[in-house]
C-alpha cells in the first residue's frame, strides 16, 4: 500500500526527534553515566571532547537516516535506528568516561586524608565514651578502652600535625596512626561491646549503619579483614 509522503515524513520526523530525546534522557539518566559536571570536566580533555563530539555526531546522523528511511517504513526503521543510536551513544559515553577518569574515586590530598582519619577517630571516640560512661561495663574493659584511645589520640594528633605541616615521614606516621585506630577498633569490638559495624552493644535501637560509599570508612581498607 502506498503511503502519503507528507504524512510519513511528519511521522518520521516525530520519530527521529523522539529518538534523540529518549537517547539524551537515557544518556543522562543511567546511574553510572556522567552528569553535567562530569561532562564539563570531560570536555576539557582531548579524549573527552572527541568521544562526546563523535557521540553527538553519530546520534544526529542516525536520527537523519531514520528520518530518511522512515518515509517508507516509519515504525520499524525508527525503532532500529533509535536502538542503534542509543547503544552507540552509551558506548561512546562509556569511552569518554574511561578516557577522562569518569566517576573513579578521587585521590584525597594529604590534609584531606588526615581530616578523614581524624573523623574516623572521632567516630570511635563517641563509641569509647559510651562504653566508659556505662555503669554495666567492667572496670578492666573501661581501662583497656581508655588506654587504646589515648594511644590512638596521640598517634592521630601526630599524623594530623605532620600532614598539615608537610614535615616528617608521613607514610610511617600514617601507618602508626592507622595501626592505633585498628587497635582501638579491636578493643571497642572486644567482648561484644560494639560490633564490627560500630553498632553499640548490639542493642537494636542503637544500631548505626556504616556509610554507603567508601570515601569515609572507620578504618582504611585493607587494614581490617
Amino acid at each position: 500500500m502506498a503511503l502519503d509522503p507528507k504524512v510519513s515524513a511528519t511521522k518520521a520526523h516525530a520519530a527521529a526527534i523522539s529518538t534523540l530525546i529518549v537517547a539524551v534522557l537515557a544518556y543522562f539518566g543511567v546511574g553510572e553515566m556522567p552528569g553535567t559536571e562530569e561532562l564539563a570536566t570531560a570536555l576539557q580533555t582531548t579524549a573527552g571532547l572527541v568521544a562526546y563530539g563523535a557521540s553527538a555526531a553519530v546520534t544526529a546522523g542516525i536520527a537523519w537516516v531514520a528520518t530518511y528511511f522512515a518515509r517508507n517504513k516509519p515504525i520499524q526503521s525508527s525503532l532500529v535506528a533509535g536502538s542503534l543510536a542509543l547503544a552507540i551513544m552509551l558506548g561512546l559515553a562509556a569511552c569518554g568516561q574511561y578516557a577522562t577518569g569518569g566517576s573513579q574515586e578521587k585521590a584525597l590530598s594529604a590534609e584531606q586524608l588526615a581530616f578523614k582519619v581524624n573523623g574516623d577517630l572521632q567516630a570511635m571516640q563517641v563509641g569509647a565514651l559510651a562504653i566508659v560512661e556505662n555503669a554495666a561495663v567492667p572496670a578492666e574493659a573501661k581501662a583497656a578502652v581508655r588506654a587504646a584511645e589515648a594511644v590512638a589520640y596521640d598517634a592521630v594528633t601526630a599524623y594530623v600535625e605532620a600532614a598539615r605541616s608537610g614535615s616528617g615521614d608521613l607514610a610511617t606516621i600514617y601507618t602508626t596512626a592507622v595501626a592505633s585506630l585498628t587497635r582501638l577498633f579491636d578493643v571497642l569490638t572486644a567482648n561484644g561491646w560494639m560490633d564490627p559495624d560500630m553498632n553499640l552493644f548490639g542493642v537494636g535501637a542503637g544500631r548505626v549503619q556504616p556509610p554507603p560509599n567508601d570515601i569515609v570508612v572507620f578504618v582504611p581498607k585493607g587494614v581490617l579483614s
Binding site: V132, R146, F218
Partner: protein
C-alpha cells in the same frame, strides 16, 4: 528480672541509642565536609581544622576523665 534491672536495661538501651546517633552524626558530618572539599578541590580550612581538632580533644578528655 527485677524492676530495677528492667529500668537499668532500658537506660542502657537508651544510652546506646543516643551514642549510636552521635556516631552517625560524626560520620555524616565528616563525610559531608570531605565531599565538599573534594568537590571544590581544596584542603580543610583553618576553621574546619580548629573545630574538628577541638571536638577530638574534647572527646579525648571526657573519655580519659570519666
Amino acid at each position: 528480672m527485677t524492676a530495677v534491672g528492667i529500668i537499668n536495661l532500658l537506660a542502657w538501651a537508651a544510652q546506646a541509642a543516643i551514642a549510636g546517633q552521635q556516631i552517625a552524626q560524626v560520620v555524616r558530618a565528616t563525610r559531608a565536609s570531605l565531599d565538599a572539599m573534594v568537590d571544590t578541590d581544596r584542603d580543610p580550612t583553618k576553621a574546619e581544622w580548629d573545630a574538628a581538632l577541638a571536638a577530638t580533644a574534647d572527646l579525648h578528655d571526657r573519655i580519659q576523665n570519666t
